[in-house]
């Protein structure tokens, strides 16, 4: 019998939520010795769970569990720029499976890969040579909490073609496994000057639908859609309560259905009016509907980070949201109704979902 497994990364370790019916959930954890976890994923290729961690004391590494969270090992072998480079790996921010590569994005901005399922790592790319890349490694030019490489879009069956986001710079695509990169920011809005036309954009979250031509993103300024695999973008913010947000998720079976969570773009970065709301479009961004049934609607000043929302692959997909104040909300019906399935976790960095046997 299959179960739905939710992997939750928090500031104080990783947790697992699991359910047979997506209504009753059990919680396990904390795992990873309470290390701050920036992103945790279930890897369908190996059946392992990986957690990108960065300890203030002991540096960065990637934890791996081969038994759905019961036992864990951590490795950082090769996860370094070396003694002579000048750059340091201050944190590992994000993980993804791309064919036979396990990718990890780090700060200072760079991508490391593992070909042995997280035992050892090697530097794949720093995207050097891209416009503005000479400034990426200067700490003085990095925003607070800089993540470096803050996200990937990959295909688990393709080792060579994937997207990487450089935080505050934009999205880039490689078709040759990281040897060369093309900026994919054409048509995005930015409300600040840049020395370059093709970089200088703040892509918070990038997702690809079941049709690879159709992509969406939540940007620092606006929600955008692409109908040509990221080569150009059209803003679809109209109808939302604001243009700022982090989290985004696309329906696994319907390219027209997409979810975002707008938050205040100032210091607060919590949901508007203290009402917990996931916004859904059924028509690729032409219109938006607030999904609130079962979510707290009074004095709920909750924030959700860029990896804080995910969607499962059931016929009627479930949507999951983890907040920076430790709640996990789950909808078993595409956002129509919601339940709070964890209430008192540490601050949540990411949620990832899988259906496992």
């Amino acid at each position: 019998m299959s179960k739905t497994l939710l992997t939750v990364a928090t500031r104080k370790g990783a947790f697992i939520l699991e359910s047979d019916d997506r209504r009753e959930w059990t919680l396990r954890g904390p795992y990873c010795e309470g290390w701050p976890i920036y992103h945790a994923i279930y890897d369908p290729t190996t059946g392992s769970i990986y957690a990108a961690a960065a300890s203030e004391w002991h540096g960065s590494g990637v934890w791996r569990s081969d038994d759905l969270g019961e036992t864990w090992e951590m490795s950082s072998e090769g996860l370094s720029y070396g003694d002579d480079d000048g750059r340091k790996v201050s944190k590992v921010s994000t993980l993804a499976r791309a064919g036979d590569r396990l990718l990890v994005g780090v700060e200072a901005p760079g991508i490391f890969e593992s070909r042995d399922n997280g035992e050892t790592w090697s530097l794949l790319s720093t995207l050097s040579g891209q416009h503005g890349s000479e400034a990426w490694d200067d700490p003085a030019s990095q925003p607070p909490g800089h993540l470096g490489i803050s996200g990937f879009v990959t295909d688990t069956g393709d080792s060579d073609n994937f997207f990487a986001i450089v935080q505050g710079i934009g999205a880039f695509e490689t078709e040759d496994g990281g040897s060369s990169w093309t900026p994919r920011n054409n048509g995005l809005r930015r409300d600040w000057p840049s020395d370059w036309d093709d970089v200088g954009f703040c892509v918070h979250k990038l997702v690809r639908s079941s049709n690879p031509e159709r992509m969406y993103q939540q940007n620092h300024v606006g929600v955008h859609r692409s109908d040509d695999a990221g080569k150009s973008w059209t803003e679809i913010t109209e109808g939302l309560p604001g243009d700022f947000g982090f989290a985004a998720a696309v329906h696994p079976h319907d390219t027209e259905t997409f979810f975002v969570i707008p938050v205040d773009g100032g210091h607060g970065r919590t949901m508007h009016e203290g009402k917990t709301t996931v916004w859904r479009t059924r028509d690729a961004g032409s219109s938006w509907q607030p999904m609130r049934n079962g979510l707290p609607q009074e004095n709920a000043h909750l924030g959700v980070l860029r990896q804080g929302m995910t969607i499962d692959r059931h016929d009627i997909p479930g949507v999951y949201v983890g907040t920076s104040t430790g709640q996990v909300f789950a909808s078993p019906d595409e956002g129509e109704t919601w339940n709070e399935i964890a209430s008192y976790l540490p601050s949540i960095s990411s949620v990832d979902v899988a259906i496992v046997e």
Binding site: E33, E56, W57, H58, G59, S76, E77
Partner: protein
């Protein structure tokens, strides 16, 4: 033989690593850490950043004095490796 005391945060990462142990010999703090690395692979990376330098919130004391990686270690020195207290 230098006497080393290690923080408890390392113990779960390296099975069999004691909180206190004696080293064979070490000329410097980095030598001492490298000797630990030989016995518990990966341990150096938990204490030493690129450069190399001690990680910013790892403090080492040799005979009660704040030390760096190149600080000399004597045959009967005591090394205290401390995970600095911060946060809540």
């Amino acid at each position: 033989m230098p006497d080393v005391r290690l923080p408890g945060t390392l113990s779960p990462l390296f099975p069999g690593l004691p909180r206190r142990l004696e080293l064979e010999a070490a000329a410097s703090v980095l030598d001492a850490i490298d000797e630990l690395e030989q016995r518990w692979p990966g341990l150096r990376d938990r204490l030493v950043a690129e450069g190399p330098s001690l990680r910013s919130h790892i403090h080492v004391y040799v005979d009660g004095e704040r030390a760096a990686l190149d600080t000399p270690v004597a045959e009967r020195s005591r090394l205290d490796v401390i995970a600095a207290i911060s946060g809540g």
